[in-house]
């Protein structure tokens, strides 16, 4: 009989998930993940006359982590910011096509942008806590929504900070300025702030790019927990992070969607050679 195998079997086989269809070579057509919480349909986006997003169609699954990857300038951040219409702040923008959240178009003229943003939380690349205390940072979304009962706010603060794995570290200094925290803590505070109002969707734009590996690891662990409750879309430059953290990955290049599939597939056997080249680090 062959000698005992001293090497671990690296090709660990996971039973195929019920929600994902074939793991065969996928083309650029949308992979539909059910239930699709965010549907992007033939979405084109212009800065003035400059078209930066071309005919994007993809579904983002509920309570999963979807990663947007691609080289600089490929449009992944632009698409992310369109999901909560933060791009409305820029002058001269135009769009064609539609984005639907839970079946409703976010561009419906009857929909108030502010109401949309209350249902979608956003975490930015450079953490941006407000110049207020930790407590006030977390409850900011509630205060702007008009809720100010102290018992409710206290409960939200504890829940959100626990959810962001920050409670034990700051529970004794809730009234200290947010700037007295470390970099990683500040970003987790921003996450706590984003989830305080229990949004359905959490958008994260390169949340760990300014953090050290330990803080990054904490936040990645956090994302694993958060996806039980929230639908998460994360933009990242870090291949390994996308591979570690996300369920589905979408690869963009020059404003087009090149490939969108299970993360496992994208990183073991992508079907598009451009995807292969990018994830292997050969361009971008």
């Amino acid at each position: 009989m062959p000698a005992a195998n001293t090497m671990p079997d690296l090709r660990a086989i996971r039973p195929p998930e019920q929600s994902t269809p074939s793991s065969g070579p996928a083309d650029a057509a949308p992979t539909s993940f059910d239930p699709a919480y965010i549907k992007i349909r033939d979405f084109n986006f212009f800065y003035g006359t400059n078209k930066v997003l071309h005919d994007l169609t993809l579904d983002i699954a509920e309570r999963h982590v979807t990663a947007f990857i691609g080289p600089s300038g490929c449009g992944k951040s632009t698409l992310l910011r369109n999901l909560n219409r933060m791009n409305d702040l820029v002058d001269g923008i135009r769009h064609l096509g539609d984005i639907l959240v839970n079946g409703h178009s976010i561009y419906d003229p009857l929909l108030e942008v502010i109401a949309l943003r209350k249902r979608i939380g956003m975490v930015f690349q450079k953490s941006n806590p407000f110049p207020k205390s930790v407590y006030e940072n977390v409850v900011y979304s509630l205060r702007v929504a008009g809720r100010s009962r102290k018992s409710e706010l206290d409960e939200v603060v504890e829940r959100s900070l626990r959810g962001a794995a920050l409670w034990d570290e700051v529970k004794d200094r809730l009234s200290d300025s947010a700037f007295s925290l470390s970099g990683g803590q500040m970003q987790r505070l921003c996450i706590a702030r984003a989830i305080a109002n229990r949004p359905e969707i959490l958008l994260m734009d390169e949340p760990c790019s300014a953090l050290d590996p330990l803080a990054t690891a904490k936040i990645e662990e956090l994302i694993h927990d958060l996806k039980r409750e929230f639908t998460i879309v994360i933009v990242t430059h870090n291949m390994q992070q996308a591979a570690r953290v996300s369920d589905h990955t979408a690869f963009f290049y020059l404003g087009k969607l090149i490939e969108y599939a299970d993360t496992k597939l994208i990183f073991t056997n992508p079907s598009n050679p451009q995807t292969e080249a990018y994830v292997s680090g050969r361009f971008g």
Partner: protein, 546 residues
């Protein structure tokens, strides 16, 4: 290269230090009690006062003689000196200061018994007391053991009585006058309606008459009491001789305070210095602003600066918020900004003229016509006052606040704003909760600059509400407590008035320096206050370090 820049700084600093030092020294030196000398003159000299053989006063200045005598061979003699003396006793001499050539002095002495007394009229008196002549006819001689205590007792009693008289006349009788005035206006209101008076009117008029009679009776009583007190003020007299030998008599009620300049110890001098400085700050002016204190000017400057700040801040901040946050950045906004910046360069007197024409005549006139028609033709708001002055200066300093606020608003990072919007806040909520609080230090900087500029401007004020002597303060205990229509006094204007329009320029000189010193002190205090608030806010809202 370093030394050129540091030299520039050194030159600037030296100039500032020298200027401030000179003002502080000259300003404070006025209050330091100086010895009084008695000068004996050469035989037959007419250099003194009233051709007396001796006279005396405080040495104010020692300088080289203006006109140099020449020696026999035509070469100039070595420099001679002359004193400028403050001789006081303006009622005796007709002047307060005198130059005396040192060559004409035989001897100098400092008689210990000399007294310098502050009094109601004619400025300070310098004399050697002889005796007190009391109301009952008895006398207390100067060498009497009880003389000093009597002196103190009488002066104190006189001060108390004077305060009492003032209370009666200003407060109580003033109150009556106001009541008279309101009845008069009410009567006029009825008359102005015209036609036959209705029974209700007749009843009212009857009531007015009754009240008038009662008030009149009260007035008589108070006036009598005041007269009585005034008589008491004149009851006792002090008899003294001036240093040149003239003998005078003065009612003790005219004395405000006194001291012996030549026998004071250092702590006593310091105490006196503090006392004089304090009365300068807290008392009211006398003798066409050459005597007494400048409290109304300090208070008026303070109130006006405060009102100006309260007016300029909301206008400036709101305008800056609109320009920076809401307005579409294009040609229009750029030209508005240019216009605002140019406004900062307009000479202040132009603002004064605008204030006069628009605020005082147009707006004030309209207000008078609408609300104070009964008082016409005496203008209430149709003339200069603390409100119009504050608004004029607010208009002048608004560009500074707008520019500083805009800078502070744009310094709030985009990331912070985006974070707020992503939380579902509206633009206004973002401005209100995040941007404005974080901009407060910058806004306060603008306010500091505005206050500094506004507190120092004099030219526009002369047209819109500052007077040489104001009988009342713009803020007092009478309803409605803040009197926007009143004219007020201002430190800057006070300096101008003292320096250029006072009858006795020598007497005014120390006051000018002292007032200048106070104005600088006031502005420094206002600025320090704002700086402290700004530092506190900066610590509270400091930005992240990474």
């Amino acid at each position: 290269m370093v030394w050129i820049t540091s030299m520039g700084l050194a030159v600037g600093l030296t100039m500032i230090v020298f200027l401030l030092g000179m003002i502080v020294y000259n300003g404070l030196e006025v209050f330091w009690p100086k010895p009084v000398v008695r000068l004996e003159l050469k035989e037959g000299s007419t250099a003194g006062v009233n051709n007396a053989p001796a006279f005396g006063g405080e040495i104010v200045k020692t300088q080289a003689k203006a006109v140099q005598a020449l020696a026999a061979d035509g070469s100039p003699l070595p420099s001679q000196r002359e004193y400028q003396l403050f001789v006081g006793n303006k009622d005796v001499y007709g002047f307060g200061y005198k130059f005396i050539d040192n060559a004409k002095i035989v001897s100098e002495s400092r008689p210990p018994g000399v007294v310098v007394a502050e009094r109601l009229e004619y400025g300070n008196a310098i004399f050697i007391p002889k005796q007190f002549t009391l109301a009952d006819g008895s006398t207390v001689a100067a060498d009497d053991s009880g003389f000093q205590s009597t002196f103190e007792r009488l002066v104190k009693a006189g001060n108390e009585r004077r305060a009492e008289i003032r209370r009666i006349e200003r407060d109580q009788i003033g109150d009556l006058n106001r009541k008279f005035d309101s009845i008069r206006l009410a009567r006029r209101a009825i008359e102005a309606r015209g036609g036959e008076p209705t029974p209700a009117d007749r009843e009212k008029l009857a009531e007015f008459d009754a009240t008038t009679t009662a008030l009149q009776a009260e007035y008589e009583m108070l006036a009598a009491k005041a007269r009585e007190l005034r008589a008491l003020q004149d009851a006792n007299h002090i008899v003294y001789t001036t240093l040149d030998g003239a003998e005078r008599t003065l009612p003790t009620g005219d004395l405000i305070g006194f001291y012996h300049p030549n026998t004071l110890s250092l702590p006593q001098k310091a105490g006196l210095f503090t006392h004089r400085f304090w009365s300068f700050l807290s008392r009211e002016p006398r003798e066409a602003n050459t005597e007494g204190g400048i409290f109304p000017a300090i208070f008026g400057t303070f109130v006006m600066t405060l009102l100006m700040s309260m007016a300029v801040t909301p206008f400036g901040v709101l305008a800056a918020i609109y320009l920076r946050e809401y307005a579409k950045q294009g040609v229009f906004v750029r030209s508005v900004r240019i216009a605002v910046n140019n406004l900062a360069g307009v000479p202040s007197i132009v603002f004064g003229v605008f204030g006069l024409g628009f605020l005082v005549y147009f707006m004030g006139g309209t207000i008078d016509r609408l609300f104070y028609s009964l008082s016409l033709p005496t203008p209430t708001f149709g003339t200069g006052g603390v409100l119009w002055a504050s608004l004029t200066l607010a208009l002048m300093t608004v560009p500074v606040v707008i520019v500083a606020t805009e800078e502070a608003l744009s310094a709030v990072s985009r990331g912070t704003r985006e974070g707020s919007l992503a939380c579902g806040a509206s633009k206004w909520q973002t401005i209100q909760s995040i941007v404005l609080p974080a901009s407060l230090p910058g806004i306060l900087t603008g306010l500091i600059l505005a206050m500094a500029r506004g507190a120092g401007e004099v030219a526009p004020l002369m047209l819109v509400g500052v007077v040489k002597l104001a009988p009342t303060l713009p803020l007092d205990t009478i309803y409605p407590f803040v009197h926007f229509e009143r004219k007020f006094m201002h430190l800057g204007f006070h300096i101008y008035d003292l320096g250029f329009q006072s009858p006795d320029s020598e007497a005014a000189k120390p006051m000018v320096f002292a007032t200048t010193f106070l104005l600088i002190l006031l502005v420094v205090c206002l600025n320090l206050g704002a700086i402290l608030i700004r530092n506190y806010l900066r610590k509270k809202y400091r930005s992240s370090t990474f």
